[in-house]
Point group: C2
Chain length 137, copies 2
């Protein structure tokens, strides 16, 4: 929480009551919540906060690196007619997605059995970075 305030100051962000409550809610939620759920939790502390404020600050925190999104491409459904097992290269800048054959990597190997009785079906792996075009600029 102290680190949070420090980062805000570094990035020129005002350390408001709302921002602290939102960040506190986020670190208390290990379930990878959607903005709506964060809003519910924050509202129990600040009943007058608006959903827009929660969205705005989540975006601010994402830019500041205080927070991560679980997926880079939630904004729209992205489709793949190739149903064979393969991976993806995803450009963090232009969001382009290209195929990466599974055997370009060593096979994924568990070191210990997956926790809490999780029954594994398959893996999806994305290599994030800059595509050739974006790397040029």
């Amino acid at each position: 929480m102290e680190a949070f305030r420090r980062t805000c100051v570094e990035k020129g962000l005002a350390v408001t009551h709302q921002r602290q409550a939102i960040y506190r809610a986020l670190i208390s939620m290990p379930e990878h919540p959607a903005p709506e759920s964060v809003y519910e939790v924050v509202r129990s502390e600040i009943p007058t906060i608006s959903l827009g404020t929660v969205y705005k600050n989540i975006k601010t925190f994402l830019n500041a690196g205080l927070l991560r999104a679980v997926t880079l491409h939630h904004e729209s459904l992205r489709l793949d007619a190739n149903v064979e097992h393969h991976y993806h290269l995803v450009c963090t800048r232009c969001k382009s997605i290209t195929d990466l054959p599974a055997d370009d990597l060593e096979p994924i190997q568990f070191r210990r059995t997956p926790p809490r009785g999780f029954r594994v079906q398959n893996y999806s792996l994305e290599v994030h970075g800059l595509c050739a075009a974006c790397a040029a600029s």
Copy 2:
């Protein structure tokens, strides 16, 4: 394309002009397009097709396993206040996301250099399957 028709028959889906055009568009688009882009392409062949039909059939194809979505959780932004490098267990049924420490797996290793001048920044790995609760039912 023949396999497509066969799968439709197996799943009791009518092999319509529109479905074939949509599927043909999809396999011709290796860029992992959004529904809107698929619509644009299909429209050049069937100018009167509606966007709703494209959406409906994409959903149908996903259910039939003719098509995959690049991510399991595009429907809403999912947030992670843990910015350390780690992976995720994702339940394909209830969409719950839980953390998986990076050292529960052998490190990811490239066998050959990533294609087309892609500059790797990092990677994200999701293990898909059924959580304990969903596996029980």
